[in-house]
């Protein structure tokens, strides 16, 4: 039997400053009818480009340079636009990463939903509309009869993503391309979307290409997984086989990240807290974002603050740094209250508390060279100049594992993502701090790079006795690096305690929800979880 989609030796080029650069380098991909294939890889692997190419589409500035894309026996490379247009939306559909941007703000959801089937002549407007309501119901959207009559900005992110999946299914396509559909969502929302997508795809018998960088997600969704790296193919195998027995070193390294464990601690040093937050309430305008938050960080230890977007974890960091004054409560550093705003703090206190941001890209001034980035705090806090400063810059570069002579004169634009984050760490270290806030420092990075950063932070903590406040939404990171955990929800601390305690039941219900929502590598995890939750609801109803 011929495959539904057969891509072979596909080459795609991007227009760069000096001609065309190959970004997909001769990749093949086959999808059988009804099969779900996961495409996985880090940023720049070419997975989205490959996914879009399955529709015979490349983004502006790209071109197909060679190879073939056959859909149901028809060649799409070089096919006339009219033929491609007939296929798109009707037989191959697309679900974008950001549904908020991919829905037209000027039209209601249902108008956009019906556009495909009506324009392709598959059904009448009335049929399409009835069908839309059925799909909304199947996607478990609230108020399926009326939600379609809302505008995109009136619907939440998770709902919008499901509405987009419904829209993709409007013409009962043979193949759906999901391009990181849950990446922008919180974990608890992600579960709803994942399960809705998976059930819908199964019920309709559509084939799908599921693009993601998250192994645990792909394990739930795909029958078969293909790993890409920098536009080339690494390996491909049925999901269970690949999880159990990855063949290539690169694939194994993707798995390895989750196994990172910090070096063992000396329990004797866990004595006094270096930072205490006492009953802090803070916010912008009248609305408090933080309500009565209290916790403390012990010297030489790592406290992880976890929560979803809007939980107030970043606001906590801003309060500690003195960027936001609390309306009630106070922050104590070594039992001295920290003034707010931070400008009023003595320079030595400013020096001892440092912060590393999530996006190294925006945390580094693009016009400051590595030398200036590290040199400025040395000069500002420690008064180092000339040769002493230069020597210290080189020492710090060596400390973060960047070859000094090679990197010292570079601009941030000439560094990779991981190198930029290392530079930010060096900048924080230059102040010779005691306490560092790490605000989602690994979440913008690929997994292997992220692991390198975690290892570096762990080594620095061991060598210098640093204390960390680690803000993250990623429980895998928490599990690997934290000594203590603080769980936040809607501006409140819902639970806190030593890590081992936090990860063993009984949990606070929200912690339970959060923990159980984190995808695991086991391909049966999602089914089992949904089963459990259904059972729990059943029990609740019975009681």
């Amino acid at each position: 039997m011929s495959k539904l989609l057969e891509i072979s030796d596909l080459k795609i080029e991007a227009r760069g400053g000096d001609g065309w650069n190959e970004i997909v380098k001769g990749v093949g991909l086959q999808v059988a009818r009804g099969e779900v294939v996961g495409l996985i890889g880090e940023s720049g692997a070419g997975k989205s480009t490959l996914g879009l190419a399955a529709m015979g589409y490349v983004k502006p500035g790209l071109r197909i340079a060679g190879g073939s894309i056959r859909f149901d026996g028809q060649e799409l490379v070089g096919a006339p636009e009219s033929m491609l247009r007939d296929l798109r939306g009707r037989r191959i559909a697309y679900v974008a990463q950001s549904s908020a941007a991919a829905f037209n703000p000027a039209w209601r959801l249902i108008d956009q939903h019906c556009e495909g089937p009506v324009r392709h002549g598959v059904m009448s407007r009335a049929e399409a509309q009835a069908e839309a309501v059925a799909l909304y119901r199947q996607m478990r959207l609230p108020d399926p009869e009326t939600i379609g009559f809302r505008y995109p900005h009136q619907v939440s992110g998770g709902q919008l993503q499901r509405a987009m999946t419904a829209m993709a299914m409007a013409c009962r396509p043979d193949l759906i391309i999901f391009d990181e559909p849950t990446t922008a969502l919180d974990v608890t929302t992600q579960i709803e979307v994942l399960s809705a997508i998976r059930d819908a795809v199964r019920d309709h018998g559509s084939a799908a290409i599921y693009i993601t960088h998250d192994l645990a997600v792909v394990a739930q969704m795909a029958d078969r997984v293909k790993v890409l790296l920098k536009g080339t193919e690494v390996e491909e195998a049925p999901t269970r086989e690949m999880l159990a027995n990855p063949q290539q070193d690169y694939t194994r390294s993707l798995w390895a990240v989750r196994d990172f464990r910090p070096s063992p601690r000396d329990p004797a040093t866990s004595a006094e807290p270096i930072l205490r937050i006492e009953n802090v309430t803070a916010g912008y305008g009248a609305l408090p974002v933080l309500r009565d938050v209290s916790f403390s960080v012990a010297r030489g230890r790592t406290v992880a603050v976890v929560g979803e977007s809007g939980s107030g974890k970043s606001t906590t960091a801003r309060v500690i740094m003195g960027l936001l004054a609390p309306s009630q409560g106070r922050v104590l550093f070594e039992d001295q209250p920290l003034a707010a705003p931070g400008r009023q703090r003595p320079r030595d206190l400013q020096r001892r508390v440092q912060m590393i941001h999530q996006m190294a890209d925006t945390a580094l001034n693009p016009w400051h060279r590595v030398r200036d980035v590290i040199g400025r705090p040395l000069e500002f806090f420690l008064g180092l100049r000339g040769a002493a400063k230069e020597a210290r810059i080189r020492e710090l570069l060596a400390e973060i594992e960047l070859e000094p002579s090679q990197f010292i004169d570079r601009l941030p634009g000439e560094l990779s993502g991981g190198q930029k984050q290392r530079l930010c760490i060096a900048r924080a270290l230059a102040a010779d701090p005691d306490f560092i806030i790490c605000d989602e420092v690994t979440s913008a990075l690929d997994q292997i790079v992220a692991e390198g950063i975690l290892r570096l932070l762990d080594r620095l903590q061991r060598e210098m006795g640093l204390s960390y406040l680690f803000i993250t939404h990623d429980l895998a990171t928490v599990r690997s690096i934290a000594d203590e955990v603080v769980v936040m929800q809607q501006g409140r601390v819902v639970e806190q305690g030593p890590k081992d305690e936090m990860f063993t039941p009984p949990h606070h219900p929200y912690t339970e929800l959060l923990l159980s929502s984190v995808p695991e590598m086991d391909p049966d995890w999602l089914s089992r979880l949904l089963e459990q939750r259904r059972a729990a609801v059943g029990k609740g109803d019975a009681a």
Partner: protein, 285 residues
């Protein structure tokens, strides 16, 4: 700067022509007294001479050498436009960057003042003020500089606000850096590219604006050689243009010479600005 010189080697033809033309104008303006065959305002021959030696572009209604006046015009018109633009820029960027960085009442006040100034068309405002001050060069320069600085204010404020949301600003603030350091070392380098391009555009605007006022008889006053007034003085001759003979043709084309000189310089600056904008937007991603 050196980076732009390297880039210029790979620049499109239009940009190269633009740079070359600007250089030519600059040389003419700087070396005007040595280049011009006759003095700026002296009557050196009969009226309305055709284009022939020794008056290669003829003489005007008073018998002054047109070529010499065009060369001096480069110095006067371009010079004054440049001074005005620099003033407008100093005023606009300083207040704009400060408004964005300091915020608070200063930002509110400056923004409201600019809103009101911009609610009146510049030409109309300039005419109103010139009614009061009379037509002096100082008044002209100050009025236009203040009016034009409103646009520079808006741009530099918007650019700075974009930069100020960046985390590296937060890092500097958390370190306890002062206002001067943040503006000079963090904001300014990042605002440079759009501001350079804006400088070119503002110069074009100011230059056309001053020429327009001169053309209306309200800008630079005689006997200063100035392209706008030269167009005004020779405007009526256009209706006598006919191409039957060299003399008649050159006679009628007189107003087009200074007007063309204005147009060519503006075009050259615009071509360079287009390229700078293109390069700086390309360098970002």
């Amino acid at each position: 700067m050196t980076r732009y010189l390297v880039l210029l080697r790979h620049a499109p033809l239009m940009a190269k022509i633009g740079v070359l033309l600007i250089a030519l104008y600059a040389v003419t303006a700087i070396f005007a007294p040595w280049l011009a065959p006759y003095p700026e305002a002296a009557v050196v021959g009969p009226k309305y001479q055709p284009w022939a030696a020794p008056h290669w572009l003829g003489t005007d209604a008073l018998g002054r050498d047109v070529l010499s006046r065009l060369i001096y015009g480069a110095r006067n018109t371009v010079g004054i436009a440049l001074v005005t633009t620099v003033l407008a820029f100093l005023l606009g960027t300083t207040t704009g960057l400060l408004a964005a960085t300091v915020g608070g009442w200063f930002d509110t006040l400056a923004s409201r003042v600019v809103d009101v100034l911009m609610a009146i068309p510049s030409l109309i405002f300039a005419l109103l003020i010139l009614t009061i001050t009379g037509t002096s060069v100082v008044a002209l320069v100050l009025v236009i500089a203040v009016l034009d600085s409103t646009r520079v204010f808006r741009l530099s404020r918007a650019v700075a606000q974009g930069i100020l949301t960046m985390d590296y600003i937060e890092v500097a603030r958390m370190r306890g850096e002062g206002l001067g350091w943040i503006v000079r070392r963090e904001v300014l380098p990042n605002a440079a590219a759009p501001l350079i391009a804006e400088f070119g555009l503002r110069f074009c605007f100011v230059f056309l604006f001053i020429s327009a006022l001169s053309f209306l008889g309200l800008g630079l006053q005689p006997p200063t050689a100035d392209w706008g007034s030269m167009v005004r003085d020779s405007a009526k001759l256009i209706s006598f243009a006919n191409f039957s003979s060299w003399n008649a043709a050159t006679f009628g084309l007189a107003p087009l010479l200074p007007a063309g000189a204005i147009a060519l310089l503006t075009l050259a600056v615009n071509m360079v600005v287009d390229w700078v904008l293109h390069v700086s937007s390309g360098l970002k991603d």
